[in-house]
Symmetry: C2
């Protein structure tokens, strides 16, 4: 089935939710004019639909393979990646001083939505590169920046993030990889990393690994971690990839999904000759890594949107073609396309609503990141509150929408050839990596609840309440959220209580935020429809999906209040052994 | 990881929810004494844990294969099936007159839970056989019964159901397979069937296909469908499998999960020599098929329980072993097993609660089926109301629990070798087959809402309300359900409105029913714990899981009321084209 990125919708959300026009008023983002935004969205859509989407199924069935010559991508991927590089898509949001176009992060998000909807596994490669660029830009020495940023920005080289080790997953501080100083000022890295996305491949002439490791005598835990740049090929005197570094992929994981994305076990320093260069200060690795993690979390939240959009388009297409049974409530006994049946239509509208709502959430968060870059401190705090919501709720909805997509297909949904099942499998990684959704919930009730002395979250809820004057269910949910915040922040709730409540609370706040953003879009769409502006089919769906979200999905979230105010006691009323009884 | 069926829990639910002791008071089920129940549960658990569970992963990776010699099962399956047959497990609930043991259906459910938890894909083979036995017992001629039932009951032969054709899925009435009368009184069958579970394999010496087809001049739709018995091998004069019938598997589907279960495209009469025998009257096929479908639906609802139990055991085991991070709320900085972390423990308790709740629902429904067999008409009506709830909610929860199981494993959950991902994939078929969950919801607001003039559903809700005097959230949910029933039954809600509301309504009624059954178990467990009776670790978990369900999951379902009373208008406020806009 053919896929086409929802350019009209992207444009609408960029304009009315992310505030792209306002960003373009600044000197820094002056290039993000309306015409340029349109051109970028259209261009990315063409690349996504024309070159990346057709490879999605092949990437799933064939997968990346570890061969004698290293990791090899499936047929067509090298060419499709080249098209991405040559089109300059990697440079969109990269710094101008290193060959980038300096556009807002929000535009990179929009581009990545299109590419990731087309091919979620493949899009992980540029996402990881963007993370590396961020870290180097903010924390790298000028020498490293000059040497690596131009080619990372262009996409000629790609980047990776190396945090996880077998014993150190969510607990990054438990990592054991070592870095010893060498005489030439560089470091020698030794250790094994797991779950390294695009840790090796044949798409680029060099791979830039960012590796967390411990230097001699470093303190325990996260305070003793440093970040190193470890190239696959060390650079020669001309700055070109030269001698092979002692850094290699030793095996690939066999995964539930995203098979086109090689998930590598990486071994550094097997021959004691893995050269690395420090990024930022010694023991400052966590800070440097967090720089890339926040934006990466939004990019993962975006994956929920990507898979939601793709699954929805496919389900709509199937439901319009598949004829089965007459309408139960109709007069005719002629069978109809299943999109006519109320429960199928309900599933499809739910898919539309969830995807629109999470897109708005992620784009809004990205817009706040850009506003923060322009010096807006409130936007910075807002973006920090929004990040765990976008990551966790975005990916949860991605899974739900992909599952609904399977269901709409009936028996055909369970057959791999149909493609709906791939989305269901691919989607499932997103709630796990880049900080599990449980970690996001802990971040929300931990750091974010206290951010600005509580003001950051309170101001979001207050904005939602202010936007809910015509939406009683949303107003009630916002009130519920405020009540939960009150309890969580009181001395009455201890840390265990906060964590026990964290996940349902995160969902409540996420839905409230999405409801607010949907209500805002609803008003705009109604106004535009009234004045005859815009695409009326699109606007009618925007109104219907917003109403569905506000009238049916927002009330659902109110049902979570009991769980979000339950104490941890019940969890610890039973022994560990009882769980196995 | 090792798996062991939850025998203590099964015994508890059989006794306090399914009413097995009361069934055993009847002459018909007198054999189902306490000792016999224990022996059956223990024996099934041994077979499941010892022989079926170890083959589960191999069945997934290797799968059933179509070869020159027909469909071949993965290594070890022939032996494991033989152990099932030789242990007499297939005959438990089969009629005594045909070599069966005549035990209650409820006991067959308990056995099947253990086998299906061990190996969901494999257990489909006996489930399908049981369906064939049901149909033959109720609708087959004496000649067919004598010829086929003993070996179907013993498991020496297996059975299949053949409804679906490419154009006829949920709309069974659209099928085109033909049956022409032959001179010898049998029929010649011609047509293609798809999605035929265990349509061919090498486990048994014969396969008995039950095939829906149209006879010449039959009316259109479901009123013109007849049921035929089509053996893979026609019986010779000694009643043994003889000449090969013109019925074969032409291809296997490549599926998301249940790979050990061959899903066949079956071709009947390619050489115009496919012999079939009529079951029941001509054009009476739907009725004969429904006989097997109702029990099959409970068996599919049970699959949600199966996968829930298996996924939970695996997640608990992992969470007790995997050490990561110190307790945020604790004083020690030592890392702990992740089961100690509140949000992980919440996920595990939710898995326990959902699995217990759906087990209670399915066992309760099975107990009502048995009571109906003993002539209890109220139980019959109750079982008919419960069937769509058990099928749809049971399988939805199975998927949710399997997904939580993946999440508890973190990154390891996405790696196929871990096994959690297989449960997630396997579980996903259950909401689809045997009538999609949307079809179940339509059944609830269609036939079941009106059953007995509305009395069947009203009496269930009234029992729930009566059992909720000490449970305010449950009482409120029961009240919500009654309010929705009132609206759905009023002239105010048309067919479209009923169908638009059907799915959230089904979930509400299911949760209310489960909440009621959990509350009943809670009281028993508290009493037993008070008197020192029973396994205290088990009873404490029963209490905790019941409280969690009542205090946190029941309130969630209240959030569905808005969707269950929304009209269909919003769904049809947009054109089909708008969905693609």
């Amino acid at each position: 089935m053919s896929f086409m990125p929802p350019v009209t919708e992207q444009r609408f959300v960029l304009e009315h939710i992310a505030g792209i026009a306002r960003l373009a008023e600044s000197e820094r983002f002056a290039d993000a004019s309306g015409d340029m935004v349109d051109a970028i969205l259209e261009g990315a859509a063409q690349l996504a639909a024309g070159e990346w989407a057709p490879l999605n199924r092949l990437g799933d069935t064939e997968g990346a393979k570890l061969t004698d010559k290293g990791v090899v991508m499936p047929d067509g991927y090298v060419e499709a990646y080249r098209a991405y590089v040559e089109g300059g898509w990697g440079t969109i949001a990269a710094p101008v001083e290193f060959g980038g176009q300096g556009m807002p992060f929000t535009m990179a998000i929009a581009i990545m939505e299109s590419l990731g909807s087309a091919n979620m596994a493949f899009a992980l490669c540029p996402i990881l590169s963007v993370g590396s660029i961020e870290s180097l830009t903010h924390h790298g020495s000028e020498e490293l920046q000059v040497a690596y940023l131009p080619k990372l920005s262009s996409g000629e080289w790609t980047g990776t993030m190396n945090l996880t080790e077998p014993q150190a997953g969510s607990d990054v501080g438990a990592l054991k990889t070592k870095a010893e100083p060498a005489e030439d000022g560089s470091w020698r890295i030794k250790g094994q990393k797991i779950f390294i996305t695009f840790g090796e491949h044949d798409l680029a002439s060099n791979i830039v690994h960012l590796v967390l490791a411990r230097t001699p005598g470093a303190p325990e835990g996260t305070k003793g971690i440093s970040l190193f740049l470890v190239p696959r090929y060390r650079l020669d005197e001309n700055g070109e990839p030269g001698e092979e570094n002692d850094a290699r992929c030793v095996s690939l994981e066999h995964k539930l999904g995203i098979n086109a994305s090689p998930t590598c076990v990486m071994s550094y320093g097997d021959n004691d000759d893995c050269h690395g260069w420090l990024i930022g200060p010694e023991n400052g690795g966590m800070r440097a890594m967090f720089t890339m993690m926040n934006n990466a979390r939004l990019n993962v939240g975006l994956q929920g949107v990507q898979i939601g959009e793709r699954a929805t388009q496919q389900a709509v297409s199937f439901a319009r073609e598949r004829v089965q049974s007459a309408r139960a409530g109709g007069n005719s006994r002629e069978p109809v396309a299943i999109i006519e049946h109320p429960d199928v239509r309900r599933m499809l509208l739910r898919m539309k609503a969830a995807t629109m709502a999470t897109r708005a959430l992620v784009y809004y968060a990205a817009g706040q990141v850009d506003a923060a870059t322009l010096g807006d401190d409130e936007a910075k705090a807002r973006s920090e509150v929004l990040t765990p919501l976008a990551k966790a709720y975005g990916t949860d909805m991605g899974c739900e929408v992909a599952s609904l997509g399977v269901q709409v297909h009936g028996g055909m949904g369970f057959i791999e050839e149909t493609g709906a099942a791939q989305h269901y499998r691919d989607a499932r990684i997103a709630p796990i990596y880049e900080g599990t959704n449980g970690i996001q919930a802990a971040d929300l009730v931990g750091r974010k609840l206290r951010l600005g002395g509580g003001a950051a979250l309170a101001s979001l809820l207050s904005d939602i309440a202010a936007g809910a004057t015509e939406e009683p269910a949303l107003a009630a949910l916002a009130g519920d959220c405020e009540a939960v915040v009150g309890w969580l922040s009181s001395g009455d709730a201890d840390t265990d209580d906060q964590l026990a409540a964290s996940y349902p609370f995160l969902t409540m706040v996420s839905v409230a935020t999405c409801g607010w953003l949907m209500a805002r879009q609803l008003r705009v769409a109604e106004a535009q429809l009234g004045t005859g502006e815009g695409d009326s089919e699109f606007l009618k769906m925007k109104i219907a999906a917003s109403r569905f979200y506000l009238d049916q999905m927002v009330p659902e979230a109110r049902g979570l209040k009991a769980a979000a105010t339950a104490r941890a006691d019940i969890l610890y009323s039973v022994s560990d052994e009882s769980f196995a009884a």
